[in-house]
């Protein structure tokens, strides 16, 4: 269960304070696929950063399972990001000089998983997201956008996270590939019982998720 309570994030911009996330509260049960929609500047990416412990909130509470991640110190945050959270980015953000397999192995290495186990796990995940064997040894530059996003999803799943945070996961893909990726995420949410929170502009995709949150000016205006 993801439980967000009275979450607030205020940035300083010169002499003025900008409230990017303003007193948001919501919850997402385990294994559910939630989407966050809203215009540019509505606070979607900031919310994702806070959920992923990439940034600290000004106030409020984020419970992932039984753990309040806003109270974690730096070292625990690194462990939390590495083992409890999976990120999927709009631009895939794969390491360009590593193969698809090596990219998926990366979070496993940071979590200190032994080499043989991480190789096996990475291969299993790439098979699961439908990347053929020959493409697993390719570097990102030699993969299509859809294939790169599959690798990114496999990487996000590597350490069996409780929560996957996806920032516009289909934003750079054509509609057909986008649909495939969405379906992949959806099925993973069910099979792996992983909670997924995805930021999207695509209302058709948002409409297919279990729950949708709409943000405007940092406030949650509808569920």
């Amino acid at each position: 269960m993801l439980q967000v309570t009275n979450l607030k994030k205020v940035f300083k911009s010169g002499d003025t304070n900008v409230t990017a996330v303003n007193d948001i509260s919501f919850s997402v049960p385990d294994g559910q696929f939630a989407s966050v929609i809203g215009k540019s500047g509505s606070g979607k990416s900031t919310l994702l950063s806070l959920l992923g412990a990439l940034d600290k909130p000004t106030s409020g509470q984020i419970m992932v399972g039984k753990q309040d991640i806003t109270k974690l110190h730096d070292h625990a945050l690194i462990t939390y990001r590495g083992t409890k959270i999976g990120f999927v980015f709009q631009n895939y953000n794969l390491v360009p000089n590593l193969t698809a397999l090596e990219n998926v192995m990366l979070p496993l290495e940071f979590a200190k998983v032994p080499k043989k186990k991480r190789q096996a796990r990475a291969k299993e995940l790439l098979d699961q997201v439908g990347l053929q064997d020959d493409k697993q040894q390719r570097k990102p530059g030699r993969l299509s956008g859809g294939e790169q996003q599959r690798v990114a999803i496999a990487r996000a799943l590597a350490n069996k996270p409780q929560l996957i945070l996806a920032d516009e996961p289909t934003g750079n893909l054509d509609s057909q590939t986008g649909k495939m990726i969405f379906d992949l995420l959806h099925s993973l949410a069910r099979t792996e019982r992983t909670t997924i929170v995805a930021v999207t502009h695509d209302l058709s995709i948002a409409g297919k998720t279990d729950v949708t949150f709409k943000l405007r000016d940092g406030k949650l205006i509808s569920k």
Partner: protein
Amino acid sequence: MNVITRGIRNAFRNGVRTFSIIIILGLSLGLALAMVVARQAVQDKISSVKSSIGNTITISPAGAQGFQGGGEPLTTDQLTKIAATANVIKVTETLNDRLTTDNTSLVSAIEPGTLGNRRGRDSGVGFVPPDAADRGGNGTNQRQITRTFTPPVIVTGTNDLSDQSVYGGNKVTFTSGQPLDTSKDEDKAIVGTALATKNNLSVGSTFTAYGKSVTVTGIYDTGNTFSNAGLIMSLPALQRLSAQPGSITSALVTVNSIDNVDSATSAIKTELGDKADVVSNQDTAKQAIAPLENVKTISLYSLVGAVIAGAVIILLTMVMIVRERRREIGVMKAIGASNLTIMFQFISEAITLTALGLIVGLVIGASAANPIAKILVNNSSGSNTAQTVSGPQFAGRGGQRGLRAFGNNSLASAKNIKAKVGLNILSYGIGTALIIAIIGSALPAFLISKIRPAEVMRAE
């Protein structure tokens, strides 16, 4: 793949840039290593010149020039004070005198020859001034006069037979008998092989000197005809026999370290004032090695400059790389990498670049060390040549000539530098490369720690 191999692989992400950095770093490291080797070669040469000069100071009475000069002899009292000077460990005192047909039964082992008779033309032992009949009214020679010159027998009194200076700087071996006890005032002497042969002397033989019978206790060989034609007695005995109590004609002061020769020389000069000429080879040595000291300084500055240049090159490169990979660093942090892990990866990348630069640098350094050392020495010594050959004046026979020769030889020897490129260059290289890599990685590491993963999200 681990953090180190990832860092190594990252070093080759941009082939052209990597190649350029390696070449530039190689030049910088090569120059640094060449300077290390040149500096080491110069240091070795300085040590060699210094050790060849020794740690001794010569004291002669002011105005003395062997048997040609004048001046007042030194005294035992003066030398007792010198012996108490700081850093002085030994004072070898000598008194020289000449035995002639008037005061010895010995016959000189030196044949006068053309050189000796030339000296006897106007003065010297055996010179008989022409009588009035031989001279015209105006005192000029009117007819050919045949003069004869009998070389004297040189007798040396000393308090230290172990010092080579007593034997004219030659190594000595005893062919028979044994050395004297120089602390005792006895009518005993050791004689050179040439003098012994000429006078049929052997251990236990006696000869007359200063009206006394002197016993031969040993016969020595120095390998030098002039030295082998002399005899040596204890200092107190010669002072008594020659009626020169407390007189010393020269002294050789030994200082505990080459580095203290200067201070000891100054102290002795202060003590003796204008009564003595106090000379060490240190001044001459200083002038001979001055160009080398310049080269040492130049090579040190160049070395530091080259290392700084290398560090700046790698620093700027790594800063550029970190800035380029801000998003990648953010992503790595987002998927669980710690600052330390990412820093190690970048340090590993910096070390890889530096290590490759080191390989190029070793080749450049090994081939450039000798030419660079020679160019530096030749350029530096050119302006000092005039100074080097005109050092302080030695008292005594042949002193000035000897010094000039010493100056020239020292300069020639100092310029003859051969930089040796050994395995130690590898350790210097690795050390330098590590310093460069660490300095070059410090700022990028700081930048890495400041990159927040959330900024990457906002940049999406």
